[in-house]
């Protein structure tokens, strides 16, 4: 009888075995990797793309012969216009108008800056570039990895009017597919003067990241491309830094219940993302996911720039002292890498930095070249809005980039400096002349802002909200990183946070009562001992 039951059990488990194997193998293959949809078209088989092509514009015309609306769509996107109209203030921001803490402004350095424009030959900032075939499809879609862009966005290397180097357009055109991390990274990894310089959470290490560097983009795991989160509709790419959502209260996106972008953690993870730990979920209405899940920035082995001192530009040697402001309000690392060039001054680079934290509701204001500076010795180039009382604000991690920048010391304006020469004969650019008055005069003329002729230097800071390089959960912040005195949230005010002394007065009063009670009992006890002994005698 016993034996019969055993056989039945054995049979039962044998039946389960194939299921287990399938389950195990299925689970082992690639952590639920998001597959790029299989295309219905092999572009290399299309006769329109057979070539040969003489220019990038010819390639674009070939693309448009099928994708008829694509160029018109791209020309409406911020990638093309470099303009962004803030709906609340009506002000116009965007690359074309704002200043940054790196080279300053685009309009005064147009030749070099337009290297990152997805068009061909944008020479005049005022030119609206209406021709459809000026859109560069290749920079975002080619998959050979060998494509490059040059000044004014040309795809050919030119000297004056001569073309020195031309890519193999047919090969590029036949390789096209959906944009990969490398396509986006071609510009976004290199902003601000080099790999990793600008953002702190975007650099070339994200081309092939491992799980440690970014749990979603992990090349041997989920392997997300940028476009998995920065979803687009009609070539309008979502998730711009000019107008962010500091919180996505809508939660998980699905058709019919969507904010038309997946560029927020909650779009996939929802607003109760910590099953089995309700206390962590309690943080969601005050703390951005990024705060705990991006514990350190510039983690991929590429340094980011934290300070740029233009005062030493034009000089043979630069500063090697760590600026006080970096210790007080910036980022500090054991190893700060000082770089100096006589044309660009002194910059400080570092990796594995602790972010700075602040309230942020997604709204950012920018100071333009014509805006009057507030009093004080430092200026916020982009002002981060948000405060504890605002229910849409969250505590966010930021990279802070400090600069000592030229400004018009009479009119108290920040200036657009003409740093890089606009053609080989340009003698006014700072990199050639080394003369601030001359280069700023040209830059301000390009920006259309009056210039007094006097150049001073001002401390400027720029805040970059961090949202990439999401660490695996075992590396995220633990409670005690913030919940203690002197923790990461020091300086983030307006909120009660357990674990740090919140109401010092209350503790003084409370301790006073305890001390009174203890001393009262001690006095009583002493009197009892002494007086009772005396009376007994």
């Amino acid at each position: 009888m016993v034996r019969a039951i055993n056989w039945r059990l054995v049979g039962f488990f044998l039946c389960l075995l194939p299921g287990c194997i399938v389950g195990f193998v299925g689970g082992a293959s690639g952590e639920g990797r998001v597959d790029i949809p299989i295309s219905t078209t092999k572009h290399r088989m299309l006769s329109a793309l057979a070539g040969p092509f003489q220019s990038g514009r010819e390639v674009t015309r070939a693309c448009l012969s099928c994708h008829t609306e694509a160029a018109a769509m791209v020309r409406k996107d911020i990638h093309w216009t470099w303009e962004f109209t803030d709906t609340t203030s009506g002000k116009v921001f965007g690359k074309k108008h704002v200043l940054n803490a790196f080279c300053g402004s685009t309009v005064s350095n147009f030749r070099e800056c337009t290297t990152c424009h997805p068009g061909f030959g944008w020479q005049d900032p005022e030119d609206r570039q209406d021709a459809d075939d000026k859109v560069d499809c290749l920079v975002c879609h080619e998959q050979t990895g060998g494509y490059k862009k040059y000044n004014y966005g040309y795809s050919e290397l030119r000297y004056k009017d001569k073309i020195l180097k031309k890519p193999d357009y047919a090969a590029l055109a036949q390789s096209v597919g959906r944009p990969s991390r490398a396509n986006c990274g071609f510009c976004h990894f290199r902003g601000g003067s080099g790999d990793g310089a600008k953002h702190g959470d975007l650099d070339s290490s994200l081309t092939h990241p491992d799980r440690f560097l970014d749990v979603h983009m992990n090349a041997s795991g989920l392997d997300f491309g940028c476009i998995i989160c920065h979803t687009s509709n009609g070539h309008r790419i979502t998730g711009s830094r000019y107008r962010m959502k500091a919180q996505d209260s809508l939660g998980i996106d699905r058709p019919g219940k969507t904010d038309h972008t997946r560029a927020s953690c909650a779009s996939c993870h929802g607003n109760t993302p910590h099953p089995g730990n309700f206390k962590l979920d309690d943080h969601v209405n005050r703390v951005a996911c990024q705060t705990c899940h991006i514990p350190v920035m510039a983690r991929g082995g590429v340094e980011t720039m934290v300070h740029w001192d233009w005062r030493t530009a034009g000089k043979k040697t630069g500063n090697t002292d760590v600026p006080d402001i970096l210790r007080q309000e910036g980022h500090i690392a054991e190893k700060l890498n000082f770089k100096h060039t006589s044309t660009h001054g002194t910059s400080i680079w570092a990796e594995n930095l602790t972010p700075r934290y602040a309230w942020f509701n997604g709204r950012v204001d920018y100071v333009g070249p014509g805006d009057k500076l507030p009093d004080g010795d430092s200026v916020q180039l982009n002002h981060i809005h948000g405060e504890a009382r605002d229910p849409d604000s969250r505590i966010w991690p930021f990279k802070r980039m400090w600069a000592v920048m030229p400004y018009d010391s009479v009119n108290r304006h920040l200036v657009a400096n003409h740093l890089l020469k606009s053609d080989v004969d340009d003698r006014e650019a700072f990199e050639v002349s080394g003369d601030w008055q001359r280069s700023v005069r040209v830059g301000m003329a390009a920006a259309g802002v009056p210039f007094s002729g006097e150049v001073g230097f001002v401390k400027a800071v720029m805040n970059f909200p961090l949202t990439h390089m999401v660490a695996p959960k075992e590396l995220s912040l633990t409670c005690k990183d913030c919940h203690r005195n002197g923790g990461r949230m020091d300086g983030v005010e307006g909120i009660y946070m357990p674990g740090r002394k919140n109401n010092p007065l209350l503790h003084v009063i409370g301790r006073g009562f305890v001390v009174l009670t203890v001393s009262g009992t001690l006095m009583h006890a002493t009197m009892r001992v002494i007086l009772r002994r005396r009376r007994r005698k």
């Binding site: 409670c479 674990g499 919140n502 209350l506 009562f513 009892r528």
Partner: protein, 346 residues
């Protein structure tokens, strides 16, 4: 002096007391971590323990409130002014004199002196509930929008919780100190552990004031008893009775049941036939409220069955009203005292 041991705290009370003491100690330590004053422990661990311990304490209290309701022991915490002045006077002055003893004599039925009653009332009705409510609000912070509480109030709720925690600490210190304010110093601690209290085996003390409750609907008879016994014994030349007796009169059972929980009496003279009750039921009702007080039953005429049943159920005497004289009643009081004292001593 001979002493005897008397059970004072039941097993449950002792379990409750010590587990509560342990929980509160741990809550204070972990709470200081949560509020940022200590950092011996990892914050996460401290916060999690604080939560677990708090829920354990709440469960303990749910059981204990149930226990108090069922046993009627909640009455121990009804505040009273009786002897309050004397007790305060004792702790502030008399305690320094080894020859004076505590003015409040604890009994199983009246365990707490009036000052203790007030202190425990503040603990039970103010400090603990405020701590729980603020603590629970803190834990369920996420539900605030549903309850319509603005989330900025978190600091207020936390502040209230911390203030009450400080009050709890002060209580704890005082309570701890008072545990040793006895002679010998470890006596109270030993009682709280073993449950037994060492009680002095004293002679009947006829010098103190005694209280007599007369439950009688006949005003003439009641006045007569009051006339006989109320006041100082001077001039009455009666060695049999205490020097001073205070007589309280009530007319019916209901009044008797109201006064009994509030005042402790040394005798009860109980007429069995009252407007609102009759026979042995009268006795049983009074006995249920005054288990430790000698009760002398009275009836208009002899009833042997009632007599023996009453004595069997714990009455001290059965008196026939129209036979009574002052001397007889005085003797009955004295004998009742002696018998009661004898049984208590056992």
């Amino acid at each position: 002096m001979i002493k005897h041991r008397e059970i004072f705290f039941t097993r449950y009370e002792r379990f409750w007391h010590w587990s509560q003491a342990l929980l509160i100690t741990c809550l204070i330590i972990t709470g200081f971590h949560v509020t940022g004053l200590l950092d011996w422990l990892d914050y996460e661990r401290a916060a999690r323990w604080h939560r677990t311990l708090a829920f354990s304490l709440i469960w303990l209290w749910i059981f204990t409130i149930f226990w108090h309701l069922i046993t009627g022991e909640w009455r121990q915490y009804i505040p009273t002014m009786e002897k309050m002045i004397e007790v305060i006077h004792y702790y502030s002055r008399g305690i320094f004199n080894p020859n004076l003893s505590h003015p409040f004599k604890k009994t199983r039925r009246l365990k707490h002196n009036p000052l203790q009653r007030v202190a425990y009332l503040v603990l039970n009705a103010l400090i603990s509930p405020v701590l729980w409510i603020s603590g629970l609000l803190f834990v369920y912070y996420k539900e605030w929008p549903k309850m319509g509480i603005p989330s900025e109030w978190l600091s207020v709720v936390a502040g209230i919780h911390v203030s009450m925690a400080y009050a709890m600490i002060c209580f704890f210190i005082l309570h701890f100190y008072m545990a040793f304010v006895s002679d010998p110093p470890m006596a109270l601690i030993r009682t709280m552990i073993t449950g037994y209290l060492e009680v002095d085996d004293v002679e009947l003390d006829l010098d103190r004031e005694y209280r007599l409750l007369v439950v009688e609907d006949d005003p003439l008879f009641a006045m007569l008893v009051k006339e006989w016994f109320d006041g100082d014994a001077d001039g009455k030349e009666d060695k049999m009775l205490p020097k001073k007796i205070t007589v309280s009169l009530v007319e019916n059972l209901q009044q008797a049941l109201e006064i009994l929980p509030r005042v402790s009496f040394d005798w009860i003279l109980l007429d069995l036939s009252l407007p609102d009750s009759d026979g042995l039921n009268t006795f049983r009702a009074v006995k249920s409220k005054a288990a430790d007080t000698p009760i002398l039953m009275m009836a208009d005429r002899e009833n042997e069955e009632m007599q023996s049943r009453g004595i069997h159920e714990g009455a001290q005497d059965f008196l026939i009203k129209h036979n009574l004289s002052r001397r007889m009643l005085a003797r009955a009081f004295r004998f009742a005292l002696e018998r009661h004292w004898f049984f208590q001593r056992r």
